[in-house]
Every structure is written in structure tokens, then in C-alpha cells.
């Protein structure tokens, strides 16, 4: 069926999905850490909105809770944490030079197509339009990995990691109206702990190699030098 026949809310969710995908792309091309964190927070916000809308549409109680969790964690806490670290290690000025940005971007685009192609069997035999957003969420996941691969800053890696979480979360919402409550809570807890641990690690890493450039972390390898 066509997007015209859908109710307003679903349309809104779908367009949010598109926006979320866009934010992933923005992050992918972003060399400045502060902006990266900002875009990440933006993605979190969009995710919250999407969750809220979905909750409202399907009037599903516990989606509200998870929306609140998302807001707390992904929009406020983690960005704040990251921002704090960026400022403390005053990396807010330096720009990471990304090699062949365009290629990465094109790769990202093709990833989106690829994820649609992968999920085709899922999407084709379902009636609820919302599931189409599954493709976007998968592409968000993959883009997150791509982000980690293409960026050298540990903080960028964390952002990528978290955006992968976003993607998964979004997938859960659009496909299955969120996971069971226990699981949601568990995931949220894990994300929280992870965020804290990341904070600790930033300190350790910068203490040991006084930079957050992960390319410097290559003592342990199997290559003859």
C-alpha cells in the first residue's frame, strides 16, 4: 500500500526514520568531535520522538518508558559525558582528517541499499508499513560500524558504538513495538554501564599513551616488525 493511505503518525515515524538515517550519514562525515557528539544527541532525540510516536500510535505503555530511558541516556547523559571528556582533553579544536570522505559516503549509501536488499524477505511478506523502517535501522547499525572503521578517535568510536545501539533500538521499535520490558531494562542498564566504563577507559588510555588516537593502540599484534 502507498504512504498516502497511512495515518499521519505512521508517516511521521517513517519520515523520522529517514531523518535518523540522515543523522548517521552526518556523523559518518563529521571530523569535529563536538559536532559529532551533537549530531549523536540529535539522533537520540529523533529516536525518542519516534519511540514516543510509536507508543502513541500503537498505544503501548512500556514504549513510553523506553522513550524516557532513551531521552535520559542517549540525549542527555551520554552526550554530556562525551562532551565533558572532549573538553577536558581539549580535543574540541582539532579536526580529524578523514581519508577519501566521498568514498566512505558512497559506501554508506550503498550500505543502505544493501540492507534493504538483505531485509527484503522480511519486508516483502508483511503488511505493516512500519517494518520498512527496519532497513533504515539496519543501515544505521552498519553505518555505525563504518563510522568506527573510518574514525581514529576513541570518542568517535564510542559515538559509533552508541549509534549502533540506536539503530538496534529503533529496529526493535519499528519491527516489534519494542522488546519485552525486562529486556529493554537490561539493555538500558548495559548501555549505562558501558557508557560509564567508556569514561573510565578514556582516562586510562590518555594516561598510558596521552592521546585517544586508537591507531596508537597497536602494541599487541602478530606482525613481524
Amino acid at each position: 500500500m502507498e504512504i498516502l493511505q497511512l495515518d499521519f503518525y505512521t508517516q511521521a515515524v517513517l519520515s523520522l526514520a529517514a531523518l535518523i538515517g540522515l543523522t548517521s550519514f552526518l556523523m559518518l562525515g563529521q571530523g569535529r568531535l563536538l559536532r559529532l557528539v551533537f549530531v549523536f544527541a540529535l539522533q537520540g532525540l529523533l529516536l525518542t520522538l519516534a519511540t514516543g510516536l510509536a507508543a502513541y500510535t500503537l498505544d503501548n505503555q512500556h514504549l513510553y518508558i523506553s522513550a524516557a530511558l532513551t531521552l535520559a541516556l542517549k540525549v542527555i547523559f551520554i552526550p554530556w559525558l562525551l562532551r565533558r571528556h572532549v573538553l577536558r582533553m581539549n580535543m574540541h579544536r582539532d579536526v580529524e582528517a578523514l581519508h577519501n570522505k566521498t568514498a566512505v559516503m558512497l559506501g554508506g549509501a550503498s550500505l543502505m541499499i544493501f540492507s534493504y536488499y538483505v531485509l527484503l524477505p522480511v519486508i516483502s511478506n508483511t503488511t505493516t508499513m512500519m517494518v520498512n523502517a527496519l532497513a533504515v535501522s539496519l543501515s544505521v547499525v552498519l553505518l555505525g560500524m563504518l563510522l568506527m572503521i573510518s574514525h581514529r578517535q576513541a570518542i568517535a568510536h564510542v559515538v559509533g558504538f552508541m549509534s549502533i545501539e540506536n539503530g538496534l533500538f529503533f529496529a526493535a521499535i519499528v519491527s516489534t513495538r519494542g522488546m519485552p520490558m525486562v529486556v529493554e531494562l537490561g539493555i538500558a542498564f548495559d548501555v549505562l554501564v558501558a557508557a560509564v566504563l567508556f569514561g573510565i577507559f578514556f582516562m586510562h588510555i590518555s594516561k598510558s599513551i596521552d592521546t585517544l588516537d586508537v591507531d596508537m593502540l597497536n602494541r599487541l599484534n602478530e606482525v613481524d616488525r
Binding site: 522480511v122 508483511t126 549502533i164 566504563l197 599487541l220
Partner: protein, 487 residues
């Protein structure tokens, strides 16, 4: 079902207790006691299951069947013996001034945390919770890997964290797809319960499950350490404190494999094809061969044995992938003997490293002359892990070989190659360490080798005669996994 809850409760208490009091002198022994209690609980649970078949908790959140109950006992057992070892080991490390009270607290409480997550992974019936627990295991151990705060250890921990985190995220996506497939036909609340999924696996949409399984395999496979997702494993094993390496090798890998197999059962149920099996076989064989090659160029004793872990996990994955009752039985047996043997080896390795004051293979020499028990322990353990009879590893490898010969004869040369390479790779490094004259100024250390002896004795027992009750477990588990009993 009570023992199961207690089993989860004990380490939970442990976390809190050690977080507060983890720095007292007797803490090592207390840790041992916690694990001992857990072992008792697990045995109790096992007896229940043996008497009255699989147990499903009232809330359906926990399931204990013949497949996971023996893994639970194994986990508890290895946890106990390793804690015995870690008591003397950590005391020695503290005397060397490598650790502060704060870190000791962290260590012991996270030890319990890790055990908790392990038990949770094994007992839970909810695939989502299983994922949560698996991620929790990463979080619990990642701080332990960097316990010494050396640059290497931090690097290792970071890689461990990122790679496993990203990997496990894939597994979550797989779980979501699984859930999605499930709620197409069924109630949203119970849809993630493994028991429910397994019952009506036939109704699940095969195509979705295939995709889901790919994500699961990549996700949990990262934790198993399948090549090329294994990169974190040797680093994490080699840089953390040795007891941690022992439990990582002995338990974490097993439980990740356990998760994969659980999912494989669902996928096989849904798609009447063997696709999951083929994927696992491919991964397994690749890991097996590549790890065997890596063994040949190791300079760090703990890295050496972590690669051997990869190799053996590869073999198990391969065997589970074959999927015939025969192979499955072999894989289950191999899980057991490998974790016993490998943890025993890591114990001796820890002492060896303390004797020589380094982990570098080139500087560990003449162990048999310095401290015969450690030297012989390492040598015999290596023999066992290299698959020489009369140790249990031989039995399982024998069965795997024959099962392969039976189902995929053209793959046996590869196995032959791999086993030969692995044996050579291990011994070319181990022999110089145990044999030869005693280096200047190398002194014996205070070592408690009971865990090693017990483990090796058990492995020997399984090599000579797989004990009846264990055989029953394996057979039941085999029936559960592959549908029919071996012969």
C-alpha cells in the same frame, strides 16, 4: 527450581560483599567459599534435573534441561577450582605490589559478577536476557583485563570492549529479528522464550531466521573467538590476571558457543535446511586451521594457549556444525574436557610466569628442574590439550575425526593438517620451557596445584571411561540438540 534461584543469588551477594570488603587478607578463601556454595547449588540442581527431567520455572523465565545443566555444573566447578588457584596467585601478586586494595576489591567482586552473568546466560529461558547477560559478562571482565593498568593491558581491554560490544550488538539485532519472526505467530510476552520458540519453531519464517542466525553467529561468534572475529581474544587473555584467563577460556567461550547452539536449534527447526550447520562448519574449520598456524609464532606463553583455545573452539563449532548425533556428542564432550584442561593449563602457566617473572616464552626455561610439579603439570596439560590419550581431549577429537570421516570424508585431510600443526606449534614452544637446565637465580614459588591435579585427573577419567551419569547427560543433550542419540 529453588537451587537455580539460589545459584543466581549467591554470586549476587558475592558482588556486593566483595565490593565492600574485597581487600581483607582472607578474601581469597572467602571467594572460594562463595564458589563452593554455588557448586553445591548447581549439583543440587543437577540432581533435580537428573531425577525429573528438564525444569521450567513457573514464570518461564528460567529453563534447566540436560543441555545446560551440565554446563552449569561445569561452570560452577571451574569457577571453584580457579578461585582456589586465584587465592594464592592474587596473594602473590599483591606481595609483588602489582595490585592495590581498590583493585583487589574490584577483582573479587567482578569475579563474582562474571560468575553471575555466566549462570544467567546458562539458566535463562529468554533470548533477550541471554543477550543482556552476555553483554554483562563483557562489562564484568573488561575491567579485569586492564587490572594491571599497563599500556598493553589497557589496549587489550579497549579492544576487547569495542570488538565484543560491536559484535554483541549484531547478536541483538539477530534477537530482534527472531522476536519479530516470533510475534508474527504468538503472544508478544512469551515470544522470546526459548522453550516457546522451540516448540513452534516450525511456524517461524525460515528466511527471517536465516538472517537472524547470521547476526547471531557474527555476534556470539565474536565472543567464541571465531576467526576472523577473534582478534580481541589473545590480547585479553594474555594481559589480564591469569585466573581471569582461565575462566575466560574455560567458561566464557563455552557459554557463547552454548548461545549459538541454542539459536542453531531454532533455525534448524524453522528452516529444514542445513544452512546454519554449514556456516558453523566453515567458521569452525577456518578458526581451527588459522589458530593452529598462529601457535607457531607465539612469544608470550598466555597468548600461546589462548590461540589454542581458539583452535579448540573452532573444532567444537565445526563439530556442532556437522550436527550428526555422533558429532554433537563429541562436541559436548570436547566442551567439557577442553574447559577443564585449559583452565588447568592456565593455572600452571600462571605459576610458570611467576617463577620466571615474565610471560615471554624465551625467558621461561627448565621448569621441571626448578619446580617439578609446575613443569610436569604444564607438560602433561599440554599433552592433554594436544589430544594425546589417555586424556579426554583425545576421545572427543577421535570422535570428531570419525564423525567427519563419516559425513564429510574430504574434510578429514584438513583436520589432519590442523591437528598436526597444532601439536607441533604447541610443543615447539612448550618443550624448551619445561625441559633443560635450570636458569640462574630461578626460584620455586608458593603454588597450590590441587586444581591442576583435580582437573587433569577428571580429564584422564573421561579419557579412559566417560562416567555413566555424564554419558547420560551427553546422550540426553545430544537427543535434545540433534534429535537422536549417538548409536
Amino acid at each position: 527450581m529453588i537451587p537455580a534461584y539460589l545459584l543466581l543469588f549467591v554470586p549476587f551477594v558475592g558482588i556486593i560483599y566483595f565490593a565492600l570488603a574485597g581487600h581483607q587478607p582472607q578474601v581469597g578463601r572467602i571467594n572460594t567459599w562463595f564458589n563452593a556454595v554455588a557448586l553445591v547449588m548447581s549439583l543440587w540442581l543437577a540432581i533435580n534435573v537428573l531425577n525429573s527431567g528438564a525444569i521450567l520455572s513457573g514464570s518461564q523465565y528460567f529453563i534447566v534441561d540436560s543441555f545446560n545443566v551440565y554446563l552449569i555444573v561445569l561452570t560452577a566447578f571451574v569457577g571453584l577450582t580457579t578461585s582456589i588457584f586465584s587465592a594464592s596467585y592474587m596473594a602473590h601478586e599483591k606481595d609483588l605490589g602489582k595490585l592495590t586494595d581498590k583493585r583487589l576489591r574490584l577483582y573479587y567482586s567482578m569475579y563474582q559478577g562474571f560468575m553471575l552473568t555466566m549462570y544467567l546466560v546458562l539458566t535463562t529461558n529468554n533470548m533477550g536476557i541471554m543477550w543482556v547477560a552476555m553483554e554483562g559478562a563483557t562489562l564484568a571482565t573488561v575491567m579485569l583485563v586492564s587490572l594491571y593498568r599497563t599500556p598493553e593491558s589497557i589496549e587489550a581491554a579497549w579492544k576487547y570492549f569495542i570488538l565484543c560490544g560491536v559484535g554483541i550488538a549484531q547478536a541483538l539485532f539477530g534477537t530482534i529479528l527472531l522476536y519479530y519472526a516470533a510475534i508474527q505467530s504468538g503472544d508478544a510476552e512469551t515470544a522470546l522464550l526459548w522453550s516457546v520458540l522451540f516448540e513452534n519453531a516450525a511456524q517461524l519464517d525460515p528466511e527471517i531466521l536465516e538472517i537472524a542466525f547470521v547476526f547471531m553467529l557474527v555476534g556470539y561468534g565474536t565472543k567464541i573467538g571465531l576467526v576472523p572475529l577473534h582478534n580481541w581474544l589473545p590480547d585479553a587473555h594474555s594481559e589480564g590476571p591469569t585466573p581471569m584467563s582461565a575462566v575466560l577460556s574455560g567458561l566464557l567461550l563455552n557459554d557463547a558457543l552454548y548461545a549459538v547452539v541454542r539459536n542453531k536449534m531454532l533455525v534448524d527447526g524453522a528452516t529444514q535446511s542445513h544452512i546454519a550447520g554449514y556456516l558453523m562448519m566453515g567458521f569452525g574449520l577456518l578458526s581451527f586451521l588459522v589458530a593452529a598456524l598462529f601457535l607457531h609464532r607465539q612469544k608470550d606463553i598466555k597468548r600461546l594457549f589462548s590461540y589454542s583455545s581458539i583452535e579448540h573452539m573452532g573444532l567444537m563449532t565445526f563439530a556442532f556444525g556437522i550436527g550428526t548425533p555422533f558429532a554433537t556428542f563429541a562436541a559436548l564432550l570436547h566442551m567439557t574436557v577442553h574447559s577443564l584442561t585449559k583452565s588447568a593449563i592456565f593455572v600452571t602457566v600462571g605459576h610458570a610466569a611467576q617463577i620466571a617473572g615474565t610471560q615471554s616464552i624465551d625467558r621461561i626455561r627448565g621448569l621441571i628442574n626448578t619446580q617439578p610439579k609446575v613443569g610436569w603439570g604444564l607438560l602433561i596439560g599440554t599433552l592433554a590439550i594436544a589430544g594425546f590419550p589417555p586424556f579426554g581431549v583425545f576421545v572427543s577429537e577421535f570422535l570428531v575425526l570419525l564423525a567427519t570421516m563419516h559425513s564429510y570424508p574430504w574434510l578429514t585431510p584438513l583436520l589432519l593438517l590442523g591437528i598436526g600443526l597444532a601439536c607441533a606449534g604447541l610443543f615447539r614452544n612448550v618443550q624448551p620451557m619445561v625441559y633443560g637446565a635450570r636458569p640462574e637465580g630461578q626460584q620455586p614459588v608458593q603454588a597450590n596445584l590441587w586444581p591442576v591435579m583435580i582437573h587433569l585427573a577428571l580429564v584422564l577419567w573421561m579419557g579412559l571411561a566417560v562416567p555413566g551419569f555424564l554419558a547420560n547427560w551427553f546422550t540426553q543433550a545430544t537427543v535434545l540438540i540433534s534429535g537422536s542419540a549417538p548409536l
